[in-house]
Every structure is written in C-alpha cells, then in structure tokens.
C-alpha cells in the first residue's frame, strides 16, 4: 500500500479543532439523548407494568413501534417527513425557528428509539425483581401505589443498572447516525478531515479511539453506580 502517513493532521489547525468539536458534539448528543431515553424509558416502563390495561396497551404499542423501525429511518422520518405532516405553522416553525434543528431532531429521534429499549428493561426489572416483593409489602398494610413506589419500582430500577450499560453504549454509537441529517459530530468531522487532507486512516483512528474512550468511560460509570446500588446481588437473588 502506498500511503503517506501523516499524524500531524490530528494536531494541525483547523483539523484538530474540527475533530475536537466533533468529540464534544458526540458527547452532547449522547448524553442528551440518553437523558431523553431514561426519562421516556422509566415512564413507559412503569406504564407497561401498570394495572390499567389501557396504559399497558399504549406503552406496548410505543415499545413495539419504536423498537422495530430502524433508527436511521426514524431519524429521517422526524427530520424530513414529520415537519410536512404537521399543520403548516408548526412545520414552518420546525424548519425555520427551531434552534439547532438537526441536533434537536437527532437527540429526540435517538432518545425515542433508545427509550423504547430502556422501557423494556424497566418493565423486566420491575417484573423480575420488584413485583415478587409486592405481597410482602401489601401484607404490612401499604396501599398498592405505596408498595409500588416504595418497593417494586426502586428495586426494579436498581436491578437494571447493569443491563442498561448496553443501552447506554448503543445510544452513544447511534449519535453517529446524526451525520446523515448534517450534524457535524465525531464521525462526520473525521470524514470532513479525510476529504480535506486525504489522511482518512489518521482521522478515523482518532474517531475509533474517541468512541472507545467514551464507551469505556460510560461502562465504568454504569459499573460504579451498579456497585453502589448492589445491583448484582439483586439480580442474583432472583435468579
């Protein structure tokens, strides 16, 4: 292979600047969409475990739809199709006045997709670890809602921190999809550098290591929280 390696592109301006802004944007999109996913996941996961049939049905439809459609398709639907389907005034606002429309759309689309997956974990945690203790809690005179809020939910959530690590990693990696609607995150900036310098190997090595470091940090963080909460013991206790 006749390739002239030149690692200096990684520290030369403006390329270094591009790559680091990509890292920051990837971090921002990952964290924001993870926050969206957790919020939606917990709410929908609770609804999925609720006694109300309607709540369970609506939550089930949400989970099935958002888990089954490819996230890339969902991203396009939200960015290109959704603004055309809503009333004109809303569509115009989405296209013209919404600040950082690509980033906001990416965060919401990825968050909604990952939220469906988180919701299933929440439901499973409540079902497997939390719910078995409901009779004991009810026997002490707690009302059903109290028993759920004080025992089943906190136990279920503690038990799933470990398994949620994978969902967190998926969410981080999905942030790279947002380049398709024009967000200049880490993958997009690496391509950008390649296009200008023809030093694609260096640029994508940077991206690879960048994702690896972010992923390892995320894994470490989740493990730390899991240890604090004693999640492993909870999962074993019910196995």
């Amino acid at each position: 292979m006749n390739y002239r390696w030149d690692w200096s592109v990684l520290i030369r301006e403006p390329f270094a600047d591009w790559l680091w802004s990509g890292v920051l944007l990837t971090l921002a999109i990952s964290l924001l969409s993870w926050a969206v996913a957790l919020t939606i996941g917990i709410v929908v996961g609770i609804a999925r475990s609720a006694p109300s049939r309607t709540a369970r049905l609506v939550a089930g439809i949400y989970i099935d739809v958002f888990r089954s459609v490819p996230p890339l398709v969902q991203l396009f639907l939200w960015y290109f199709v959704f603004p055309e389907m809503v009333p004109d005034s809303v569509g115009l606002w989405l296209k013209r006045d919404l600040p950082y429309p690509e980033i906001v759309t990416a965060v919401l689309a990825i968050g909604l997709f990952a939220g469906a997956r988180v919701a299933e974990q929440v439901r499973a945690g409540i079902e497997a670890v939390g719910a078995p203790l409901l009779p004991a809690a009810l026997a002490t005179g707690l009302r059903p809602l109290q028993a759920f809020r004080l025992i089943a939910l906190p136990l279920g959530l503690r038990a799933i921190v470990g398994p949620l690590t994978s969902e967190f990693l998926i969410t981080i990696k999905l942030s790279s999809l947002s380049l398709t609607i024009g967000v200049l995150e880490l993958t997009a900036q690496s391509r950008h550098v390649e296009n200008y310098t023809f030093q694609g190997f260096e640029a994508f090595t940077f991206a690879t290591i960048g994702y690896l470091v972010i992923g390892l940090c995320a894994t470490g963080l989740m493990r730390l929280i899991d240890n604090r909460l004693g999640g492993a013991a909870l999962r074993k206790a019910t196995a």
Binding site: A136, A137, G141, L142, L150
Partner: protein, 242 residues
C-alpha cells in the same frame, strides 16, 4: 376473632379450597398442617386478602375481607404476616425494613418508628444487626427481621406461612423460640408448619388439611394421640416417624 365460613378458591378450573370453615378466637394459637398441595398456604393468604377467593366469607373482628367496601390495607395493617422465604426488602437495612410500614401506614415519625424498630429487633435478638442488609444476615436472622417487621405494626394477630421451611436445620430453633415467646404472651397466631414439635408445645388447636378441605379441627392433644380421620393418621405416621 377470625371467622372462615365455607371458603372456596379456584385457580381456573382447579379447585384449591373446598368449603373451609373455622373460627379462631383471641389469643389462640392454631397450627395448620397437612400434605403439600393441600391448600394451607392459600388458606392463610386468603385471611389477609392477598389471595382472593370465589365463595364463602372471612371476617376479621367482624370486618369482611372480601367485601369491596372493606379498607383492605387498613385490615392488613392489623394482621402481621411472615412468609416462607422471608420476603425482606433487599435494598434496605434491617432497621429500614422494620420501620418502613410504620412510617407510611401508621404515620409514625421516622424517629418514633426507628425507636420502636430498635426495641423490637433487640427483642428478637438482632439488636446488633440494625444496619445490616438481608444479604448480610443468615436465614434465621432474616426470618426474625421479618417477624419484627410484622410485630412493629402492633398487630392483633399473626399469620405464619411455613416460617421455617426455607431454613437450615440449625436455624429453625431460633425462629421457633421467638414464635413461642409470642404465643406465651398471648398473641393470636395461625401457623402453617410441618414442625410438629412446635405444634405439640405451643398450639391450642390443630387444623389438618387435605385436598383443599379442613379434615380435622381438634384440640392439640387429641390430634396427636387420637386423630379421628384416616388421612390425619397417615400424615402423622409419615411426619413423626422420619
């Protein structure tokens, strides 16, 4: 105090309880025994409404368990229950396990509840384990925390669902001793158990169940010396000879 009248329970087409009737008066200790699958656990769980039943009635202090107007949580708060597998909250310490319902059901202040929890945990011999989580306790200790959790609510009666079946042999006695003390103090107790020694020492009456029926409801001495039914005789032969 607790009156069961013709209680029937079905799981789908399978009948678990076939017309169980019994009366338990204040201060009585009643042991429920019988082969597995005879409906003992189901019956005891019907008493505090954890398991709904299809026909018949159960009243506690005159309050119907199955009536839709009954405030079931309030009724449950007056009846303590101890489960076979302890069912402690694994994310909480022994103290928190015992205090939780006092705070959220009886509306005691956290301080008041904790004081009472310390007193009761000390009484069951766990004064030194207040800050331990269930996973750090032995089975016998966990079951005693579970008894303390029920006692902390000042119950009028206690239900025990095979409280020693999940325990290693060397831990059974520490739990039975706590239960025996309770009985001596005059607590009304319904105990599902295979511990015939406990029944002989502590029970006033024995209910023998088989295939969803209360086959025998007799004073303790008569049950062990002269059971009237053939099935009870067979059962006693099996559990007493091994």
């Amino acid at each position: 105090m607790i009156v069961l009248d013709d209680v029937h329970k079905f799981y789908g087409s399978q009948q678990i309880l076939r017309g169980c009737s019994a009366t338990i008066s204040l201060g009585e200790v009643v042991v429920v025994c019988g082969p597995s699958g005879s409906g003992k656990s189901t019956l005891i769980k019907c008493i505090n409404g954890l398991v709904p039943f299809e026909r018949g009635s159960i009243t506690v202090d005159g309050v119907s368990v199955s009536s839709p107007e009954t405030d079931l949580p309030a009724l449950r708060a007056r009846i303590g229950m101890v489960f076979q597998s302890f069912e402690l909250y694994p994310h909480m310490t022994a103290l928190q396990n015992v205090s939780l319902a006092q705070v959220h059901v009886l509306k005691r202040s956290q301080k008041e509840a904790d004081e009472r929890s310390v007193k009761i945990l000390t009484r069951v011999g766990l004064g030194g384990k207040l800050g331990n989580r269930p996973a750090e306790l032995s089975g016998g200790q966990q079951q005693r925390v579970s008894i303390a959790r029920a006692l902390a609510m000042n119950p009028q009666a206690m239900l025990f669902d095979e409280p020693t079946s999940a325990l290693d042999p060397e831990m059974i006695n520490e739990v039975l001793e706590v239960m025996q003390e309770l009985a001596v103090e005059g607590m009304t107790m319904i105990v599902v158990t295979h511990e015939m020694g406990f029944a002989q020492r502590v029970a006033n009456r024995v209910l023998f169940m088989d295939r969803g029926e209360i086959v025998e409801d007799t004073p303790k001495d008569q049950f062990f010396t002269a059971p009237s039914s053939e099935r009870a005789k067979q059962f006693l032969n099996q559990v007493l000879t091994h």
